[in-house]
Amino acid sequence: MRRLISVASLSALAALALLGGCGEPQFSDAEKKTIASLALNTLPSLKVDTTNQYADVPAAAALGSTLFFDAGMSRDGTVSCSTCHKIDRQFQDDLPQAVGVGHTNRRTMPLAGVARDPWFFWDGRRDSLWAQALTPLENPLEQAGNRAAFAHYIKKRFGERYERIFGPLPDLSSVPANATPLGSDAEKTAWNAMPAGQQDDVNRVFANIGKAIAAFERSIEPEQTRFDRFAIDLATGAKPEGNAAFSPEEVLGLKLFIGKANCMTCHNGPRFTDNSFHNTGVPPVDGLPPDRGRVDAVAQVGADPFNCFGKFRDGDESACRELRFMVKDGPQIMRAYKTPSLRGAAYRPPYMHAGQFATLDEVVAHYSKAPPSVEGVSEVHPLDLSERERAALVAFLKTLSE
C-alpha cells in the first residue's frame, strides 16, 4: 500500500510539473508561428528597384547622401532632408508636425526600411522612393526650392560627380534661374515659357536627384531588437538569455498584441505594417488645414509626372502594378493613413500622422476606446482593455525599440 501511495504521488507531481510548465512563458504552436512571422530574420532581402537603375550604384548613393545632408538643397540654404529626417533620431524630428521653411501639417516619418514601402508619405501620394524625395524639395513649407534652381545648383556644385553617374548634364545656359510648374506665379510663368525639350532636360536632372537620394536611403534598414532575440529563442526552443528574456508583463503584452487587441490586423510582418491605409478614427488637429488622407492622395499620385507610368521611370511598366491596381475610390480611403512600422516607435513620440498623441499610453487608449471618425468610418472597434492590459501592450512595444 505504501508503494502505491508513493507511485501515485510521483505521478501527481509529474502531472503538475507538466501543467505548470516550470514557469516558462507558454505559447501555443499557432502563437509561436505568429510571433516568428514578426521577427526581423524573416525580412526578405531588399528587392531591386527596376524603376531606378541607379538604386544600387554606390556612387549614386554617395551623391544622394551628400544631397540628403546639404542645406544648399533649399530655397534659402537652411533646410535639407536631414533637417526633419535627423540621422541620430531614427531619421525623424520628434515634432508633432515637421518644420522646414514653413510649418507643415504632417508628422515626419522615420526612414528605417523605407525602400520596402510601396507607397510614400502618410497618405501614399507618391509611388516610389525617388519620386518621394523630389516632393519636399519643391514644397513651399519644406525645402521650398524649384527644379530649375536645383539643376543649376547641381551643375555648379556637383557637376562632375553627377556626370560620372548619370552622363552629361544638359545645356542649362538658357534655363531660367527659377522655374517649376508647381511654384509661385513667376516660377510657373518662367516654366511655361520654356520649350518642351528644355522642360524635359530639367525634369530629367530633377528625377536623377531623386534617384540618387533614394539610392542613399536604401541603406537605412531596421535593426535587431529585444523582441527579435526573444522570437528567435522561442522559435528554436533556446532559453532566452539576458535582456532577450521577457518579463511577465511583456509576455502578456505580446499575447494581447497577437491576439485579443487585434493589433496584427494591420501591424503584421517583420516590419509591423501591412503597407496599407486605414481610417482608425484619429482626430484632426485644430488649426491645421482640412486633411482627408488617402482620398486626396490617390488623385495626386495619379497626376504626378514622376510616377511609375511617367517617362522618367527606368525599366518596364511591369514594376507599376501597385499604381495600376490602386484603390481609387470608395468610403474606405476617406481619412485613411498608412500603417506605420512599430519598430523603434516607443522612442519617437509624438504619434499619428499629425502628432496627435504624445505618448504610447494615449495611442493604446485610443485603440481601446475606438472613437468614431470625424469623416469616413473608423475600422477600429472598441476593445475595452483594462489598465493592466494597456500597460502590458506598451511594455511589449518598448521591446521593439531596445
Binding site: 496584427m264 490586423t265 503584421n268 510582418g269 491605409f277 490602386m326 484603390v327 470608395g330 475600422e379
Partner: protein, 147 residues
Amino acid sequence: MVSIWRYILAGLGLAVLLVGIVAAVYLTLPQSAPGPDLSRSKKTANGLFVASFEPERGVVRQGELQSWLLTLKTAAGAPVEGAAITVSGGMPRHDHGLPTSPQATDYLGQGRYRIDGVKFTMSGWWQLHFGISAAAGSDSVVFNIVL
C-alpha cells in the same frame, strides 16, 4: 507480499479517472463554428458557369501583389471565351473592402482569365466576388479565402 492484482486494479482506476477528465474537458469545449466554403471550384450563383479560382503560382503569400487564374466553363464543360469580368471583395468580419483593385488583365485561352493585382494584407477570412458576363448570360460567384 501484496498481490500484483491490487496494482493492476489501482492502475485501471487511475486510467478510468483520466479518461473521465479528458472526456469532460472535451465535451465542455465550445463547438467551433463551421468555416466558410473554401472550395476553389464551384457553380456560379445561377448555375450558368463552373468557375475555378487558383493562385497563378500555386501559393498564397500575405502582403504580396499576386496574380490568380479564374477558369470559366459552361455547365456542359465548354470553355467560356470573351467574358467580361468584374472583381470586388473584402473581409466580411472587418467590414472593409480589398486593399487593391484586382482586374481581369489577360485571356489565356481555354476559359482561363488572369486576375492580377490581388493582395491580402492580413490573415483571416477574405472574399472575392466575380461578376461574369458572357454569351450564355450574366452570373456571379464568390470565393472564400482564409489565410
